[in-house]
Symmetry: C2
Subunit: 199 residues, 2 copies
DNA sequence: CCGGGCACTTACCGCTTGGTAAGTTTCATA
DNA sequence: TATGAAACTTACCAAGCGGTAAGTGCCCGG
């Protein structure tokens, strides 16, 4: 089960990097999660940086394979975008570890800019901009306006997706359960009204 | 200039913690920023954790002192909230370091829950919920709905406030300049339409 | 003029870190 | 049955970490 070990390393690395950040986890800690030594990990990945890079690449691949479906008619473009964004939100809320890891990467790639040559978000953002511009009401809008819109919606999604421990601590589990139910519904409304009135 | 040194330590600690995270910065690195040794830092703060705590407390104090002004008439409540949120956005975008640091804290206080007893965000969020409920159209809405709304708007603000290096890397400085101009304007619109239609 | 506290330094410590070197075991294949 | 690569292990290392101990120079009140 050698190939399995590799995947298992990536799995626990993803979880631990998400929880504590790159510098907050030692490769020994990741390896001991599987009952192995850090040299087993180094045997598979060569270095901590490369392991981290592979975790990121795997996430990026999964993102890439998340297809929005065929282009709809202009009349359906708004609904198409909404469905896609709600899909993203659902994925983000279901995989909070991945959401956390990507937000950490957003914070870190200033300092570690050399590795940031990947820009896993780029095709994803460009696809979203295209989907906005496909909506008749947005045909006249500039790229900057479309990007500002999608970035606001992505921000709303990801920020919430990362806040569960804090919100639980502040408001308690009962209030959080209410919020968790209200959020997707309100997000749907926010998307509706945001894309229906470009100016 | 002893008191000055303390503030300077807090200043450079804030910047470095924001850029690289708690585990990514050594106290020696913070101290050498002022041309001092790490023991000078330890003399003032006792430990790295305490230094970090004081950085957070200072930010929390500044937040607390950011007053929204007197309660307006119900008719003006919407405009009042909008102004306040745009103020927050402006502050967040003008102090990207602070925004980064707070987002890191949001990510970290799961793992380091013991320190998280502060919940600096709590009074802030409760104030915002109150401001939403003061809007006539939102009087019937539940707390969860109001919180979902403000959290979406805060997410939109903070996520963008933290993304400059990434967006620069993806789209280049020209496109980023356009986005930087479009964002506040579009944020104002988003707030307008979001608070005007609760259901 | 002198005593004590403040701001800071040099010296040191035990521990952890990422990484290297050199095996050892297992197992498929020739 | 020999061979060699893959998947690990134990042993080790230099560097960096946060923190302690013991000064050193300086200024300020008695």
């Amino acid at each position: 089960m050698a190939a399995g070990t590799r995947e298992q390393f990536l799995d626990s690395a993803e979880v631990l990097f998400a929880e504590r950040g790159f510098y907050g986890v030692s490769i020994a800690a990741i390896a001991s999660e599987l009952g192995l030594t850090k040299q087993a990990l180094l045997h598979h990945f060569g270095s901590k940086e490369k392991l981290y890079g592979e975790v990121l690449r795997r996430i990026s691949d999964q993102f890439e394979s998340m297809e929005p479906g065929p282009d709809p008619s202009p009349a359906d473009a708004g609904h198409h975008l909404k469905t896609y964004l709600l899909d993203i939100a659902q994925t983000a809320l279901q995989s909070p570890d991945r959401t956390r890891l990507l937000m950490r990467e957003l914070l870190d790639n200033k300092h570690r800019a050399e590795r940031a040559g990947t820009w896993y978000l780029k095709p994803f953002l460009e696809r979203l901009i295209g989907m906005v511009r496909a909506i008749p009401a947005w045909r006249e809008a500039g790229d900057a306006d479309a990007l500002a819109l999608v970035y606001q919606l992505l921000g709303a999604i990801n920020y919430f997706g990362v806040s569960k421990p804090t919100l639980l601590g502040i408001f308690g589990s009962d209030a959080y359960a209410d919020l968790d139910e209200a959020f997707p519904q309100r997000l749907g409304r926010l998307i509706d009204i945001a894309i229906s009135s470009p100016d």
